[in-house]
Amino acid sequence: MEQVFYTLQDFMVHTKGITYLIMGGLLAALPLFWLFLTGRDEKNKTF
């Protein structure tokens, strides 16, 4: 159900709060996905 917001402040705090949580999740998920993607690549020594 759609949440009712009475002020713009309420709306921003709510949506930004959830967005930051999602961004945190993405920051963790994308490197893991990269590891999955490159998991079977031949390891090239860079040193």
């Binding site: 949506t15 930004k16 999602i22 961004m23 994308l30 993607l37 490159t38």
Partner: protein, 425 residues
Amino acid sequence: MGLQDTIKNRLSNNELIKNSLMKSNLINNPLINKIEWTPLNIITAIILFVGFILTIARFFGGLGTVTNLDDNNPWGLWIGFDLLCGVALAAGGYVTSSACYIFGLKRYHSAVRPAILTAFLGYALVVFALNYDVGRPWRLPYPIFYSPGTSSLLFEVGLCVFLYLNVLFIEFTPAAFEWLGLKKIRNFVVGLTMLLTIFGVVLSTLHQSSLGALFLIAPSKLHPLWYSGYLPVYFFISSMFAGMSMVIFEGSLAHKYLHHKMDETHLSESDGVVLGFSKAASFVMMGYLGIKLIGLSIDNNWHHLFTSWGLWFLFELIGFVALPAFIYAVAAREKNVKLARVASILGVLGIILNRLNISLVAFNWQLPLDQRYFPSWMEIAISVFVVTVGIVAYRLITAYMPILYEHPNYKHGDDSKNKHGHQED
């Protein structure tokens, strides 16, 4: 390698050079030898004939004769499909050339020419199809040279497409010059490769995003699930994996139907191109999925997901972004080229679905059904005609010019500038 293998290789190389010379020589290989009336060619001829008749109808009878456009829906299939999808799917040009020349991934070099050709034809057909929508082709230069509307996004799109079409044309010309045997001018243009690539990336960044920004003006018309302040970013990011998917898709078609035109380099590098682009497309798609999620969250549109529009939105996002991203990832991990080709089909269909959703399906979503736009059969036929013209042009050019093979006179050993456009270290 044994002596026998070496001899076999030498012989096949000689044969290849001979074939390449034959292919590149207009005199030995006249433009139209003999048209074979295969079922595919007959269908092509019918499409071209019907398209020609409808072209006359459109330009002599006006938009009303052939389209279902009205004041509510002034942009129809020709903008939604021919222009928006055409530009997105032609992004393979800037993606491939920047991967090869700017990021130095030379192993993708054999994919550059086919990608540039596809992009050039794509943009040329976008301009061609735009004439059907705008009308009065002789006034096409007006917005650029006579009355530039510098405050309009359409002006920016027009200017970028105009400039980028020229850039793509120049990037394509070395193949034509090799075919014509104009070595000096060919070497001069090849020397401009890096400059043209950078120019191409800048122009693509500008107009791919601006095409999305066009819809920012219509927040009340576009469904909230598709409308977002991030539309320009969505369009630009999605153009990257659209371009990569198109390069894989076009490469697999060329591999199947134009296999005989490819030389050893193209054949040996093609799997690497497919797998490399799969990996890149997969990661970009996941990033795109992430920013779509952020857009959904920042506008607090979650409640729309539980409507029929929400299901359609999720169908697009899960079926044509998340799924191909996952298939691409598995293909890249398992080194499975076939799987990557399946994902590329989904990727291409996904970008078409996305652009059609934004420009047609979710546009004017509040209007009653009888006032909604549905393209007439003639609009669809003209779009099919435009795509067919592109396919015919692609086949014709690849039949004569060194696109899918290296011209024997300009092979890597000839001069290092020839192959990569700048001195190799």
